[in-house]
Symmetry: C2
C-alpha cells in the first residue's frame, strides 16, 4: 500500500489532501443505527454487504449493532474480513477455480463461511476443496429471481441442486441466495414492489418445495438498500443483505417513496473531497477528481450543497464543473465535497477512508479489501 | 498491498487466477519498438505518458528505447517513478496545494522534474514551494488548444504567464504544454487532422510570440496515441506524450486511417483474463470481470478472438456475455481474454501485471503508481 494517507488525525477537513474519501461519521453511525432498528423491528437478520465498504472496521461496527455477519462478493473480500476477525461470512456469489476454492476452504478454520452455487459441477468442486482442507462448507443455492445473471431457476432446478449439495460429503446445504440486484434501482416504489413481489413468490415457492423434500433453509437471503423493506415484510426472507445504506450515494438518492419523494431513511455519509485545480476557462472549474477517483457507472457525482455547480464530465484525473450563469467559479485551491453516483466502486478507488466529525479528522481506516482481484 | 499476485512465474496462462491483468510481452515490445522507430524517424522526442502504465518497469523499457523521460498526471505518479529511478519527469498537469507542491519540490533532489501552470497565483505557490525546498523547478505554461478544460488561452495570456514564471525566483520557464485530449478519439483521420491542425496553429503562434519576448520553449509537448503523427510533422511540437500506444485498447482500435480502416500501427498487448463463473441462464455466460476489473468509461470490453461472445453489461463483480445464436456458451471455469475499452483506468484496477510470453508467465510487475490519490 504505497499511497500516502491524505490526512492526519486532528486535521480540519479543509486541510485534507485530495482526492480523498471522506466518511461523515455522524451520518454513517445514524445510518447504521437506523438499519439496525429497522431489522430488529421487522424481526429479520441483517447480514450487511461488505462489497460496499470493504473494511473490517465497518463490518465490526455493523455487527456491534446486531448484524449477524457479513456478505462479501468474492474470496479476496472474505479473506480480509476473516483476517480482521469477522466471525460469520457469506460469499453471496459463485466461486470458481481450484485456487480460489482452496483459499475459501482455508477460511473455514477461522470463521463461519458459506458460499453460493448454481452449477452441479461446481458443487463437486466445492466439495473437493472442502475435503482436501478437512472442513465442512455451507453452500447456498443461488436462484435467479429476475436479474437474469447468475442463479438456477427457482423451483425444481433449485431443489435438485440443493439435494446434490446435501448429498455431497463435506458440504451442508445452507439455504437460498435470492437477490434481485436490478430491482434496487427502479425509481418508483410501485416498480420495486412489483419486481420484488415476483422474487418473493419465486423464493417462497422454492422454500416450500425444499421443505417437501426435507431440506430446511437456514438462510433465505437477499434484499438491497433499494428494496429491503419489501423482503423484510415477506415472511420468507430471513436475512437482509443491504450494503449501500451505510453510505448512500447519488443513485440510491434518486429512488422515490409512496409520495414520489426521495426515500429519506438514510443520509449521505460518503464523499469524495476534491480541489479546484484550474479555473482558466470562463464558466468552467476543473476538479482533481476524475473517474479514477469517483465511479461514474451510475451517473456523475453531485456537488454537495452547491446547486450552482454541475459535474458535467470526467476524464481519468479531471472532473469538469459547469458553473451556472450569474455565479462565480470556485477559486483555484478551494475544496468541494462530491456525492458519488455509486458508492461501492468509488470506495474501491482509494486506499484510505478519512473519518470526519465536527469538521476534524477523527480516524483513518484502510480500504483493506479493495482491488480488482477476486 | 494486500492483493495476492494472481500467478507464479512459469505458470501457463490458463493457470493464472482471475481477474488478472495480462501483458502480451511480444506485442508490448513490438509497440515500444514501433513508436521508438517512429519518433527517431520523425526527429521528435518521445516522453511517453506513465498515466497509462503506472510502472517504473515500463518507463525504463521506454527509456531504454530512446524516450527522453516520462509524463505523469499527478505527484503520486511522479513519486513512484522518481523512487524507481526514472531520471526526467514532466507532470503534464496542474498541481495545486501546499502539501502536493512540497512533495513535488522534494523530488527535484533526485530527478529532473517539471510541472504545468495555468494560473498566476499557482505560479507564486510553485515558486514558494521551490524556495522552501531550495530547488529550481521547471514550469511549463499549459495552453488550451481545444479541449476546453485546463490551460490559458494561446497567445498573449500564455506569454504573460510565461513571463511571470521566468521572473519568479527558483522557477525556470520550461515551455508549453499543448495537449488536445478530446481529439485523440475522433474516429476519422480527417476529423483528427482538423482538430490537431488548429492546435498546431495556436501552439506555433504562441511559440513565436514567446520568442519575440526572448523566451525559448525547451519543451513543446502534447500528442497522444490518436494523433501523434500529426504533431510530429508539425515542426512545432518537439516532444510526443503518447501513452496508450504501449498497450492499445478497444477504443483506440476504433480510430480509422485514410482508407477508413482501423489504424494498425500498434497491437493489443493488454488484456484482462476472466473466468466464466456461471452459465445457468440460456444464451448467457457470466464472467468474474465487472467494472471493478475493467473500465467501461470508453465502452465495453471486447472478448478477444471470440466474435460469438458479446460483453453486454458490467456490474461491480460480474460481466454478462451474450452468446450468439447457434453457439454454445463457454463452460463454467473456462478462461477468456478481454480487450479493455480504455487501458489507463483498467490498469488502475489492479495491483499486478502478469507478463505472458509464448503462453507462460514470464514476469510479475507491480502497478506501483495506481490509485485515486494524487
Amino acid at each position: 500500500m504505497l499511497q500516502h494517507p491524505p490526512a492526519r488525525i486532528g486535521m480540519r477537513e479543509h486541510e485534507v489532501d485530495t482526492p480523498a474519501l471522506l466518511i461523515d461519521l455522524d451520518a454513517f453511525e445514524a445510518n447504521l443505527d437506523s438499519m439496525a432498528a429497522f431489522a430488529a423491528g421487522a424481526g429479520v437478520k441483517l447480514r450487511a454487504h461488505a462489497k460496499t465498504h470493504k473494511s473490517p472496521v465497518v463490518a465490526h461496527a455493523q455487527i456491534a449493532r446486531g448484524a449477524v455477519g457479513q456478505c462479501v462478493q468474492k474470496v479476496a473480500e472474505a479473506e480480509i474480513l476473516a483476517w480482521g476477525g469477522v466471525p460469520d461470512i457469506l460469499v453471496s456469489n459463485e466461486v470458481v477455480g481450484a485456487d480460489k476454492l482452496a483459499r475459501l476452504a482455508a477460511l473455514a478454520r477461522i470463521c463461519r463461511i458459506a458460499v453460493c452455487a448454481d452449477d452441479a459441477g461446481q458443487v463437486a468442486a466445492i466439495g473437493q476443496a472442502a475435503a482436501e482442507a478437512g472442513v465442512e462448507l455451507r453452500v447456498l443455492v443461488e436462484i435467479d429471481v429476475g436479474a437474469g445473471r447468475c442463479g438456477v431457476a427457482p423451483g425444481p432446478d433449485a431443489v435438485a441442486l440443493a439435494q446434490l449439495i446435501a448429498a455431497t460429503p463435506h458440504l451442508r446445504f445452507g439455504g437460498l441466495q435470492a437477490y434481485h440486484g436490478s430491482a434496487q434501482h427502479l425509481r418508483t416504489i410501485g416498480e420495486r414492489a412489483r419486481a420484488i413481489g415476483a422474487a418473493i413468490d419465486a423464493t417462497r415457492r422454492t422454500v416450500e418445495q425444499l421443505r417437501q423434500v426435507g431440506l430446511t433453509c437456514d438462510i433465505v437471503g437477499g434484499a438491497g438498500t433499494g428494496s429491503f423493506e419489501l423482503e423484510a415484510a415477506s415472511g420468507v426472507y430471513n436475512e437482509l443483505q443491504a450494503g449501500s445504506y451505510c453510505f448512500m450515494d447519488a443513485d440510491y438518492a434518486r429512488n422515490l417513496d409512496e409520495d414520489g419523494q426521495p426515500v429519506s431513511r438514510f443520509q449521505h455519509a460518503l464523499f469524495v473531497l476534491g480541489t479546484v485545480m484550474s479555473a482558466a476557462q470562463p464558466g468552467v472549474a476543473v476538479l482533481d477528481v476524475g473517474h479514477k477517483a469517483v465511479a461514474i457507472d451510475s451517473g456523475m457525482p453531485v456537488i454537495w450543497q452547491r446547486p450552482e455547480l454541475t459535474y458535467t464530465g470526467a476524464s481519468d484525473e479531471h472532473g469538469t464543473l459547469r458553473v451556472a450563469a450569474g455565479h462565480a467559479a470556485p477559486a483555484v485551491g478551494s475544496k468541494l465535497r462530491l456525492v458519488p453516483g455509486h458508492c461501492d466502486p468509488t470506495v474501491d478507488r482509494f486506499d484510505w477512508y478519512v473519518g470526519i466529525r465536527r469538521g476534524r479528522v477523527e480516524c483513518l481506516w484502510p480500504v483493506a479489501a479493495r482491488g480488482g482481484f477476486s
